[in-house]
């Protein structure tokens, strides 16, 4: 790759006398991309059309990988558990995405109100969970949920009930992400020209009216961005339910799609099936993200 000098450079773009520098600059990223994204993805594709077969005696000590065509895909697509896990993921997402973005927007607007006290402290406190790894955040919340150790009423509220567990998982995600998104929106608010407010104040707008009528529409790009972040995070939901799992019976080993893939690969030791599930999941995720990105682009641009 990256050997031919730049020819046919579009008009208006900077032309650099055939400098090799851009190629040199992008080379590390391209190599890493090929090595750690393209090659593994390709390998997963290869694995997904194979199956492990045993032969030779009771214990089948002779193991071979055989080409099995689309058999794995057939099995994956016909597996209700995968669709159920996707449904559970969507349920968590349905709570976590509005929760994260809603809280982030609310906090950001509050921070932006003049005469709010202790704002620096609050802003910091709300942001801090971002620096706590998901696994560790889940450890903490797990102890908070369990009746044995709960300081938040876990002995009367069942945080692991069949319905409650979705809220419990989503809460951990919201806790970890709201602060980051709050800062994103807050920064967008701060970037708005102060003159807007002066005019509004002269018109007798209250802070609330200003927030709803002026600020929210103006920071919509940031809010959309945050929603996109949250949606991507929801797709990759794994650490929280996986760490929460040993604490109760509420979370199965195939609770969300990524746990299902993990379970296929590392518990059932069926790598080809895990690869096929990964491919299916990735295609769906890419499709959804693509459509979402298009919609957002159009709305933001328009």
């Amino acid at each position: 790759m990256a050997v031919a000098p730049a020819r046919g450079v579009p008009a208006g773009a900077p032309r650099r006398r055939g400098s090799a520098l851009p190629y040199v600059l992008v080379a590390p990223a391209v190599l890493l991309f090929l090595g750690f994204v393209v090659a593994p993805a390709g390998y997963a594709l290869v694995l997904s059309v194979q199956s492990r077969k045993v032969s030779g005696g009771l214990l089948g000590t002779g193991t071979t990988m055989v080409f099995s065509g689309l058999a794995n895909y057939q099995a994956v697509l016909g597996d209700v558990e995968l669709w159920r896990s996707a449904l559970r993921m969507l349920l968590v997402a349905a709570i976590a995405i509005p929760g994260t973005v809603g809280l982030a927007l609310l906090f950001a607007l509050m921070l932006d109100v003049p005469r709010t006290r202790l704002a620096r402290f609050s802003r910091l406190a709300i942001f801090v969970p971002y620096a706590v790894p998901g696994v560790i955040a889940t450890l903490m919340w797990g102890f908070l949920y369990l009746p044995a150790t709960s300081p938040i009423g876990g002995d009367s509220i069942d945080f692991f009930s069949p319905v409650g567990v979705f809220g419990s998982v989503a809460n951990i995600a919201v806790w970890g992400a709201a602060g980051f998104n709050m800062i994103v929106i807050f920064t967008a608010l701060r970037a708005l020209p102060p003159e807007i407010y002066e005019a509004a104040r002269l018109d007798g707008c209250s802070e609330l009216q200003m927030a709803l009528r002026i600020k929210v529409p103006l920071v919509r790009p940031a809010v959309v961005m945050c929603s996109l972040f949250s949606a991507l995070a929801a797709l990759q939901l794994f650490n929280e339910p996986n760490t929460l799992r040993p604490l109760s019976n509420a979370i199965s080993s195939t609770w969300v799609p990524l746990m299902k893939i993990y379970n296929d690969a590392f518990v059932d030791a069926d790598l080809p099936r895990a690869a096929a599930t990964s491919v299916v999941f990735t295609v769906i995720a890419l499709g959804v993200s693509f459509v979402a990105a298009r919609l957002i682009q159009r709305r933001v641009a328009g």
């Binding site: 090929l34 090595g35 199956s51 005696g57 009771l58 089948g60 109760s248 019976n249 199965s252 518990v267």
Partner: protein, 433 residues
């Protein structure tokens, strides 16, 4: 992302070339430097096992063993399989009996018959059964773990309960306890650890896997297992049994504060109780597991492990020598009894002087190991563990977890396990009858 196999292979080659050139072969090979001592890696999860390994290293300067704990129990099996797929497993691994056949089937664990002829003589046939398949030895047994009844002596005395000897009595005791001490449960039904339930099924006479010739038989939802499931379903439905998974913080608390009055567990329990319920030292006692018919001596097994050598090892003879030493040398076995409270697998090991004393957590029951010794011969496992136990076990966790959560029938959970196991074993290409 790529449409043709050719381009794909090209990409793979590029990736490999990139990594190799970028990193100049920084990978650490396991090969011993010529002339130096043989280096062996050993995966296990027992705390304090390093002290036992130190003894070996001190006595064997020519073979150096390094112990690592990459993950505990069930997760170690996953790690072993993955590492084997990449060809970089350890030399020696601690493997629970139920995982051994699947690891042999996966080509992870090596046949060490030729290196262990001498060591094998130190175990009786029943103990060797879980490590010897079709006449080949795949590991040296480390401990045996007959299922027993651990009970809170103080609570039983306080409420005037007698120790149940049959399951009927156990159920009656559960009801009596619930009446006399509201809030206290006789025990919990553990949907998280399938080994526990399998042990109970073994006692009832179930045979989840068996074989004739090279044909497997799978019978997870047979009458015996259904009997066990129905018994516990009844206790759960009556609210006499808690539903928390064992080893969770919630369960730890309940073990500590006397919410749970008994624990059906393996002979290794004393070592664990110290960590689980430190405030209950001297309050527990052990008794034989309740029987289905009075006087029956049969019990099941929960856990127990073998020391195995992997097919990745470049020094299988030395690795097998270590495995033999670990489980037959009186000094090594005594140290393990002291450090991790194993009940030794080797015949001679069961008469070691170190077993004359009760485990430190059971000062109230000096005859502790006497009872274990009396119970051990009645312990039975399945004819054999299947080659895809992990599938069965993860199915157990999910289906029984859901059954407890939603109050659906236990028999249905067993059916789910049976069909998941059958589907997988067939798919892998085993002959099933």
């Amino acid at each position: 992302m790529f449409t043709s196999q050719r381009r794909l292979r090209l990409a793979l080659a590029v990736a490999a070339a990139l990594v190799v050139t970028a990193c100049g072969g920084a990978g650490g090979g396991a090969a011993a430097p010529s002339g130096g001592p043989v280096e062996l890696t050993y995966w296990g999860w027992d705390p304090n096992m390093d002290k036992v390994v130190e003894k070996w290293n001190a006595a064997n300067p020519d073979v150096h063993v390094t112990l690592t704990n990459p993950a505990g129990g069930d997760q170690l099996v996953s790690k072993l399989i993955t590492a084997h797929q990449a060809g970089n497993g350890p030399d020696i691994a601690k493997v629970e009996y139920q995982s051994l056949p699947s690891l042999v089937a996966g080509g992870v664990v090596a046949d060490i018959t030729e290196h262990t002829a001498e060591a094998v003589g130190q175990f009786d046939d029943a103990t060797l059964a879980p490590v010897r398949f079709e006449g080949k030895v795949y590991g040296i047994p480390q401990d045996v773990a007959p299922l027993m009844l651990f009970y809170r002596q103080d609570l039983f005395q306080q409420h005037g309960l007698t120790v149940p000897t049959t399951w009927d009595e156990y159920a009656r005791t559960a009801a009596e306890l619930a009446q006399k001490a509201p809030g206290v449960s006789i025990t919990n039904f553990d949907a998280a650890d399938p080994g526990w339930f399998a042990g109970l099924a073994q006692q009832a006479g179930a045979d989840w896997w068996s074989s004739t010739g090279t044909t497997w038989h799978v019978d997870i939802n047979g009458a015996e297992t259904k009997k066990v499931a129905a018994y516990w379903e009844d206790l759960v439905a009556k609210g006499l049994v808690a539903k928390n998974p064992s080893f969770s913080p919630q369960w730890n608390k309940e073990m500590n504060d006397g919410t749970l009055a008994t624990w059906i567990s393996g002979a290794w329990a004393p070592a664990q109780l110290g960590g689980i319920a430190p405030s209950t030292k001297g309050k527990w006692a052990v008794a034989p597991l309740p029987a289905w018919t009075a006087g029956d001596q049969q019990t099941g097994i929960w856990g127990g492990s073998a020391t195995t050598v992997t097919t990745d090892s470049k020094h299988p003879a030395e690795a097998a020598r270590f495995a033999s030493w670990l489980n037959t040398d009186p000094d090594a076995v005594s140290e393990q009894v002291k450090q991790i409270n194993i009940y030794p697998a080797s015949t001679a090991g069961r008469s070691l002087p170190v077993l004359a004393d009760a485990p430190p957590f059971f000062p109230n029951q000096p005859e502790f190991y006497g009872i274990v010794k009396q119970v051990a011969p009645g312990a039975r496992s399945f004819s054999m563990w299947g080659p895809n136990v992990t599938v069965t076990f993860s199915s157990y966790t999910n289906s029984f977890g859901a059954a407890l959560q939603q109050g659906s029938p236990f028999a249905g959970a067993l059916d789910t396990m049976q069909s998941a196991t059958l589907a997988d074993i067939t798919k892998l290409g085993f002959t099933v009858g």
